[in-house]
């Protein structure tokens, strides 16, 4: 079982080998989806913040002053923290880390997971058996728990956290990709390709993969939000990135001992996490509608 919102068994209808039609459908449905619009705008803002954080930040995010725990003001729009650092600058820099981890982990998990799923589904036999035994093992646990185990073993730090979260998400992608492959393997265009003598790799990556992309994209989008939440939670528990890296979870964890004297330390970083995750969820929901991937659990 997993946090995944996509059931791999219900996605067979989603195959849509005509990308142009899909694109126009995207645009059309966006026009009447307020949530998706909100999501895209907010996420866009955060992405902007992520790219331009060094220029947008009013202060160096790690610069300490004796102006400790002063409330939101003109000089410090979101106040300062317990070491006199500007909270806005820290949250802006946190955007970089959080979005970077969210996106990179999902990309890694997607590449590995989809490859495993394709190989398992297409080759069948003992390869399928071995891969799926492992995937089933992982599937038995929530992604977050797996990430906790892995960080505990590898240790903390940016790279280790990325590895842990990536590995934790592999099973979701593998299952989606495998079930898509299983159903597509029987399709005529795959048969045709096979009779034309194309290599397995070519069939897999040129024919099956593009047709399986829709549910994978939806899964990927949703996973980004879980990865961001996961990173924040790991950091909060002391299992995350280095102590000096301002990530949202860490800013919250650091501020925890001071929140009754400085509420802003508890409120703003949490709001940032919530807004980003909410936006991604909205976008995921919209994509799911567009691609007609049935939501399931």
């Amino acid at each position: 079982m997993s946090d995944s919102l996509i059931s791999p068994d219900d996605t067979a209808t989603a195959a849509d080998p005509m990308p142009t039609r899909r694109r126009s459908r995207l645009r059309a449905s966006l026009a009447n989806d307020r949530k998706a619009q909100f999501g895209l705008v907010v996420l866009g803002l955060f992405l902007f913040g992520m790219v331009f954080a060094p220029w947008l930040s009013p202060y160096d995010p790690n610069a300490m002053t004796m102006d400790m725990m002063s409330g939101p003001s003109l000089g410090h729009p979101l106040g300062t923290d317990d070491l006199g650092r500007d909270l806005l600058s820290r949250i802006l820099h946190g955007t970089q880390i959080s979005l970077f981890i969210g996106i990179s982990t999902v990309l890694i998990a997607l590449v590995i997971g989809v490859a495993l799923g394709l190989i398992a589904g297409y080759s069948g036999g003992w390869i399928d058996l071995v891969i799926m035994r492992y995937i089933d093992l992982q599937w038995a646990f929530p992604n977050f728990i797996i990430a906790v185990y892995l960080v505990a073993v590898f240790g903390t730090g940016l790279v280790n956290v990325i590895v842990a979260i990536s590995l934790a998400f592999i099973d979701d992608f593998a299952r989606v990709a495998r079930s898509m492959t299983l159903s597509l393997r029987q399709e005529q265009f795959v048969d045709a390709a096979r009779t034309m003598g194309f290599s397995n790799a070519r069939i897999l990556f040129r024919h099956i993969l593009p047709s399986a992309m829709a549910p994978i994209i939806v899964q990927g989008t949703v996973s980004v939000s879980y990865a961001i939440l996961g990173e924040a939670t790991l950091s909060f528990l002391g299992l995350g990135v280095e102590a000096t890296t301002p990530t949202w979870g860490l800013i919250l964890a650091d501020g925890r001992g001071f929140i009754s004297q400085a509420w802003w330390l508890g409120v703003f970083p949490g709001l940032a996490i919530m807004l980003v995750v909410l936006s991604i969820n909205f976008i995921g929901d919209w994509l799911r509608d567009v691609f007609d991937v049935r939501e399931s659990l």
Binding site: A140, A152, L239, M274
Partner: protein, 315 residues
């Protein structure tokens, strides 16, 4: 059916064994010496040697593993490396009711909110009610549970002082003291779960309402209320049953985090502290128990699904 059950049971046990083995070996590869930590304050060389022998750290890792596995089959999970070397079984037995209490109350709160919300949202599709429910559900899904926990403490414990900020009181000391300590953490744990169920019920109900037999029922002249209660809801609940399994995943992993905020020494806190302290036997025991939850609830869900949906048959 019984053959299937047996196969699933064996598979389940194998999964748990695999997990335990992986954790046993991986935890021994990482730095951190529990004996050094234990003797940090006052320790002579011979006391240290005695402790190492006592815990079998002087034997090869593989021997330690066999030794441990043998003990486990006898129901002995070993002892904690710290403090008074409490048996892991006792630690887990104490932690279990805390996590179960927390998960149970979170489950109840979540269902009480989610079921009406889901029905309301499906029957009033595309009205402001639906939009509102959907938005709140999205918020619940997007909020980090530990942040929600902190916010709840600030508002209801620190400022309003309605409910205690931390801790756990066992049920044996009275229902209210027990419940009062669990309300805030349960809300923090249950919110995301509640949001998922509400959305689940909504989409499942919508699906069912579209089905042919609903039109048949309407044609037979049944009132919409009767259709809802005797046809639509029971059918819509079938996929929702799977959330019983999801419930464990979400509630247990939620509890891991939230227990830490509220200083409740449940399974999650035992697990995290065990990991941070490199308390091998505790981590192994906690992982086994947590794993058992997930694995057996998966099994349960599969079987339940077969009972509820006559179309699924196991051979």
């Amino acid at each position: 059916m019984s053959g299937y059950l047996l196969r699933r049971l064996i598979g389940t046990v194998l999964v748990m064994w695999a997990v335990a083995t992986l954790v046993f070996f991986m935890l021994r590869l990482v730095p951190g010496d529990p004996v050094a930590a234990m003797l940090a304050d006052a320790g002579s060389a011979e006391a240290e040697a005695a402790l190492r022998t006592k815990f079998g750290f002087d034997k090869p890792v593989f021997m330690q593993y066999l030794y441990w596995l043998g003990n486990m089959f006898q129901g002995d999970f070993g002892n904690s490396l710290y403090g008074n070397n409490q048996p892991v079984r006792t630690i887990l037995a104490e932690a279990l009711p805390r996590t179960l209490s927390l998960a149970g109350i979170a489950f109840v709160i979540a269902i009480v909110i989610a079921v009406p919300a889901g029905i309301l949202s499906a029957t009033r599709r595309n009205t402001p009610v639906d939009t509102g429910v959907s938005f709140v559900a999205f918020l619940g899904l997007s909020m980090p549970d530990f942040w929600l926990a902190i916010m709840l403490i600030i508002v209801f414990a620190a400022n309003l002082q309605w409910l205690p900020a931390i801790g756990y009181v066992p049920l044996s000391e009275g229902f209210w003291p027990w419940l009062e300590h669990l309300i805030l953490p349960a809300i923090a744990v249950g919110t995301a779960f509640s949001a998922i169920i509400a959305r689940m019920i909504r989409s499942s109900l919508l699906e069912v309402l579209k089905a042919d037999y609903m039109r048949t029922a309407a044609a037979k002249g049944l009132t919409p209320r009767m259709i809802m209660w005797s046809h639509a809801l029971p059918n819509a609940m079938i996929p929702v049953i799977t959330v019983v399994g999801i419930a464990f995943a979400l509630l247990i992993s939620g509890a891991v985090v939230v227990e830490n905020v509220f200083s409740i020494k449940g399974l999650g806190r035992v697990l995290i502290n065990g990991i941070l302290n490199r308390d091998y036997p505790v981590v192994q025991g906690a992982v086994l128990v947590v794993s058992a939850f997930f694995v057996f609830s998966n099994l349960l869900v599969d079987l339940l699904y077969g009972v509820l949906d006559p179309r699924i048959r196991y051979s």
